[in-house]
Symmetry: C2
């Protein structure tokens, strides 16, 4: 955390990413209370903020550990002293990376990883043997989203058996992303039944997803939950019914630099800040100050506002706040974010793990 | 430029962005020859590479200057000694930024900017008066793409008149992006006719776009051309018929980390490297080694390969090369790129202007 000199939010040069601290703190507390109520460990995914100071706030609020996606992220968080309990939800493959994993494991009380195939599992075992250390492993399951993960409960069982038998692998359980619906629950229950029938203990069942915070009751088999987006929230969370606009803690400040037509204005934040992530949404963000005004398109440095359904219109030179579609990817575009409270910049955080894709 | 120790391309940890130097050099030479043949000045846009060393190669090949989009980019290139002739194709607005512009102008022989509205133009004039320096300005026209720019030739004429009369503004001409088609040519010809009929000289008419390199003959009114993408090329250029796959100098190296089904594999490069830019394309990249294999979807750290139409299939652990949709935005995702020739890493370039959005 950098202590910023006294600075009014209006003095931040645009484009800039601001975090409304009151909202973020409320988001952290609300999610923690929800997971406490369901008796599930909270293991926030740091991909959303990529900032160790915010992870520390999540841990102080009750989180049991953190989730990282890449080893480069782990390095940043361990360097910052977050070193109790880290899960890497990614297949770590190749000697260079498994050596990095083992070296990092010397600095973390528990550093666990996932595997969804035999090649990755054998590579982790060989790394454990090379370094003389156990590797805690969860088997990643495809709970219905069609990305990574074993495709059947039987395949999960087979990998769990292999993990139990391979040297230096410590089989700890199952992982899935996201908790999608009844098909995810059925998959996990069946896999657990098969693995336990083999006499293998499954201490950890790790679910994930921020919208899935609303459906924790449907996944009683989970022992922990990994959510990232909830810390800031965004339009995808609002679209999913999992947050309101007033829960969105990330605002992208931008200046209106052009107004070529009555209904089209240009802001100085384009895809290099907002990104072009859309998923279920049809635009690239919406304006706080002008309900109905949307970022209808964006090129790298231009955000094109469609004002045709706006209740009011900005003017050239105005600073506006954009709620982005997907806050996690916006964090990755900037070197720092401004923590704001009551119109003052309270802190400037470097996005320490930005760009750590390896 | 960082002199890298002798390193085989196979030793680069994935994901990584590589630049095939033979291809890049051929792209630079081919575009320069084309512009020379049409008697148009070549002012490459640095947004594609964001690397001063590559701008120096473009200038050595004959470029008359460079184009930047944001002042933060200008700062990086001027710091690196590229300081003869820079055009900023962006409305620079607000005293903080116009002061930065004027301070930078002390370090560049000619630092020109654009304006597409009266408020920006007046702000530039006031900055020129504050700093006691002339500001070279082009009026930005909307040649049919519907982004920035004055909407009619008459509006261009009116702004040119105002620019001529405002203190410290040195009206230099017109700018448009991109050279789209006959409508762009008609707009520019009419605007030039109106402005010249007012007795105002128009020394510069600046067109742009990499696909537009194929249609330079249709825009004889242009005195210079700004293209960016041509230096690397990408699938959007191939889709536009302006490059072949063998002209694509940027390859994203990635490792296959999972193969959940027969036709689905996962690589360790997702939207944090490839971005989700699609424009006219339906995927997020295609594989060099496996024709027909495409990046069908991507989340932040996962690229999802669809192998259903692939002529061959990779295996878990394989390193593959992805040709991205849009090379400019990929440059912005990484801190360095690897310059490769004959399978060896010849240089590692920091992407010096990455993330300079202000």
């Amino acid at each position: 955390m950098t202590n910023a000199p006294a600075m009014n939010v209006g003095d931040i040069e645009t484009p800039a990413v601001t975090i409304l601290l009151d909202r973020m703190e409320a988001n952290i507390a609300r999610a923690q209370a929800l997971m406490d109520a369901h008796g599930v460990d909270n293991r926030p995914h740091i991909k959303t903020h990529k900032i160790p100071a915010i992870a520390s706030m999540q841990i102080a609020a009750g989180a049991s550990g953190i989730t990282c996606q890449k080893l480069g992220e782990v390095e940043v968080f361990v360097d910052a002293g977050i070193a109790d309990d880290i899960l890497v939800t990614y297949n770590i493959l190749g000697e260079v990376k498994t050596d990095r994993l083992m070296e990092l494991s010397l600095r973390v009380k528990r550093l666990a990883v996932v595997a969804d195939n035999e090649i990755v599992l054998r590579g982790l075992s060989e790394a454990g043997v090379r370094h003389g250390r156990d590797v805690p492993v969860l088997i990643e399951c495809d709970g219905g989203i069609g990305r990574n993960g074993v495709q059947t409960p039987e395949a999960a069982q087979a990998l769990a058996q292999m993990a139990t038998n391979l040297p230096r692998i410590r089989f700890e359980g199952l992982m899935v992303f996201p908790n999608k619906g009844p098909e995810t629950a059925a998959f996990m229950n069946k896999a657990l039944e098969l693995i336990r029938a083999d006499g293998i203990a499954v201490p950890v069942v790790s679910g994930g997803g921020s919208p899935a915070l609303m459906t924790l009751a449907d996944f009683p088999m989970m022992t922990e939950h990994r959510a990232g987006t909830y810390v800031y929230n965004d339009l995808m969370m609002v679209d999913a019914g999992a947050a309101s606009l007033d829960d969105c803690a990330m605002h992208v400040r931008a200046t209106v630099v052009s107004m070529p037509t009555e209904d089209r204005a240009i802001i100085d934040a384009g895809s290099k800040v907002l990104t072009r992530d859309q998923y279920t949404l049809s635009n690239f963000g919406q304006l706080v100050e002008h309900p109905g005004a949307v970022v209808a398109n964006c090129s790298e440095e231009h955000g094109m506002l469609d004002l045709s359904r706006a209740q009011s219109k900005p003017r050239i030179g105005d600073i506006v706040n954009v709620i982005p579609n997907h806050c996690c990817v916006v964090s990755n575009m900037v070197d720092e974010v401004y923590g704001v409270r009551d119109g003052q910049v309270e802190t400037v955080w470097p996005v320490a793990a930005r760009g750590r894709v390896r």
